[in-house]
Symmetry: C2
Subunit: 231 residues, 2 copies
DNA sequence: GAGCGTAGTTGAACACGTTCAAGAAGGGGC
DNA sequence: GCCCCTTCTTGAACGTGTTCAACTACGCTC
């Protein structure tokens, strides 16, 4: 029996060899073109041509152009997570770790600010797979939350245990807010967003610290309970 | 060919009589169709046909389909402002007025929840005239802020003067947040959004009340200063 | 009235995202 | 070899938002 180069391909990551290859080819080409010339300028025909396949073939693998952007989105997010891993290796104060993580996010996205808006547009649509709240985004979202959990867990600062459990998700939400601001930030080099991070990190730190005092318990509880109810 | 009968329509706000009339005709038709069948289903050709004009004519008055949606948006916002005027006529506690105003907003938007998402999509784009932060939206935004100022001014509750000045804008921002949640809210009748309003109004009220205490001054100052810097 | 310039109007044409019926490639089972 | 089934691939075709050169209607001056 001749062993082919094709491995068993049970059910793990590759359904079939051939298909996965063209899929990758299309994704890579699309990601490259998105980065080079932006979302709107990059047409499905251009992607297909550059990848050496037909338009219909791209649609065999991706239901829509949006789904191709998600691949791009994932790439950026992976870069962010990777950058954070190094930054958060050593423990430190909560404020330092938070600032570092958030700043890394802004830094990672920076090259794409020009066309981020046009894909942010589709991400804002409720039903879109690109929406940060969508089921399709769940892996990326969880990865990001896990990263913020590491921010919290590696922090030497004291944090109220009840808040601590939910804090990673809340910080992720804050990061979404920063991203929202960043997308609309027209200041040169998005310096205003950097300012926002620089100053809101200590602010969040202070609020977290305050929540440990007895007199803030009711309001902290209320916020947490409301958040749990509505997410 | 059906000719619409043109009456004088003595100009009070119109630059020219004829143009303004077709403009209105197109807007009204578009708004009607948007409400009837949603954003995506309503094509520019359908609008033009229903209005009895050509496609190109619609583009003579409106640079894009998005700009037509803005007319719809303005209509809804006007309804909200009008509803609030009655609700806020008599003075009351801050929390009651805030809840009433925000709830009225949700109530006004409710009929359009089905297709709100698709137009929200374009509103989220940074450059879009539909963006709540855009120059084109300034009148609507200012009207809304003015409404929240009336919420604050008519309140019998004591409020820190420094906060009081910025509070209307912050409340408008909160309202934007509620709207953001509302758009993504898939609960029946958007009851979760109503819950959000019901419970966040007392929360905001409590935070506002707390900000009067001496020990909160620094953090309040920092928040306000950061907000002023970044808006 | 004649001429002229601006405002208003038209519909064909363009490029795009997306769909689909049709075909090609590949791989077992006999 | 042959058949059959699934996976993959194609490109023409559809409907969309948008553009544009051409045309018409109107108000103005002389």
């Amino acid at each position: 029996m001749v062993r082919t180069v094709v491995e068993p391909a049970t059910s793990d990551t590759e359904p079939t060899a051939k298909g996965e290859q063209t899929r990758r080819l299309i994704v890579d080409t699309a990601v490259r073109l998105f980065g080079e010339q932006g979302y709107d300028k990059t047409t499905m025909r251009a992607i297909a041509t550059a990848a050496g396949v037909s338009v219909g073939n791209a649609y065999y693998y991706f239901p829509s152009k949006d789904h191709l952007v998600q691949a791009f989105y994932t790439t950026v997010q992976d870069a962010h997570a990777e950058a954070c891993e190094q930054l958060l290796a050593a423990p430190g104060t909560f404020v330092d770790r938070l600032r570092a993580a958030m700043l890394a996010g802004v830094e990672t996205m920076a090259p794409y600010h020009g066309f981020a808006g046009t894909f942010f547009k589709t991400a804002a649509e409720p039903g879109s797979p690109l929406s940060p709240f969508s089921a399709e985004s769940a892996p990326a979202r969880e990865r990001s939350v896990r990263m913020f959990r590491s921010v919290v867990d590696g922090a030497t600062t004291k944090i109220d245990p009840e808040l601590r459990a939910e804090l990673p998700e809340l910080l992720w939400l804050a990061q979404m807010g920063v991203t929202l601001y960043w997308v609309h930030d027209t200041s040169p080099g998005q310096e205003k967003t950097r300012l926002l991070v620089e100053r809101s990190a200590p602010l969040i730190d202070r609020l977290v610290a305050m929540s440990r005092f007895r007199m803030f318990k009711p309001v902290t509880r209320e916020i947490l309970s409301l958040y749990r109810l509505l997410r």
